[in-house]
Amino acid sequence: MDLLIDRWLHVMAGITWIGLLYYFNFIQVPSMGKIKEDGSATAITKFIAPKALLWFRWAALATWLTGAYYLERSGIGLANAFLLKGTAAYIGLGVWMGTIMLFNVWVLIWPNQKKVLGIVDASDEAKLKAGRIALLASRTNTMLSIPMLFFMIAGSTAHMSIMVSY
C-alpha cells in the first residue's frame, strides 16, 4: 500500500515539476519580450515567477525523493538503477536524467533566477550572465524531460518486453 501511495505522490509531484518547467519554457520565457514592451513585467518578475519557482524546486525534490523511495522499497534498488544493472537499466537511464535535472534546478536554475528576479543583489552584468545560465539549464531540463519520461515508462514491467524484443 505504501508503494502505491508513494508512486501516486511521485507522479503528482512530477506533473507539478514538469508542468511548471513547460510553463516557463513554452509560455513565460518566450513571452517576456512582449511583456516588457507592454510594461507589465513586474507582475511576472515580482509575483508569478517567484511563486512558480517555489512550487517548481520543491516539486523537483519531492519527485526525486518519492522516486528513490519507490526504487528502494520495490526491490529494484536505487544503486542498481544508477549502475544500469539488468532490468533496472531502463529505469536507470530515467533516474540519471531525473537526477541531472534535479541538480540543474537546485544548483543552476534557482540560484541564478534569484539574481535575475532581484531576490538577491547582482549587477546588471551578473544578471545577464545568470539569465543565460538559468535559461540553458532550464532548456536542458526540457530536452531531458522527453527521454526521461520515455525511460520512466519503459522501465515499468508492462513495457519491458518492448525494450527487450523490439
Binding site: 519554457n25 513554452f26 518566450p30 544500469l84 539488468g86 532490468t87 537499466a89 531502463y90 536507470g92 537511464l93 540553458l136 532548456r139 536542458t140 526540457t142 530536452m143 531531458l144 524531460s145 522527453i146 527521454p147 520515455f150 525511460f151 519503459a154 525494450m163 527487450v164 523490439y166
Partner: protein, 32 residues
C-alpha cells in the same frame, strides 16, 4: 552552428533525437 537549446522547437527536437539515440543504446547495450 546555432545552439538548439536557444529555441523551443530546437529543444523539443533535441529531446526526441536524444530519446531515439538512448533507446537504441539501451536496446543494444543494456538490460538482460
Amino acid at each position: 552552428m546555432k545552439n538548439p537549446l536557444d529555441s523551443v522547437i530546437g529543444t523539443i527536437i533535441a529531446g526526441f533525437v536524444l530519446t531515439v539515440v538512448l533507446f537504441f543504446f539501451a536496446k543494444n547495450f543494456l538490460g538482460g
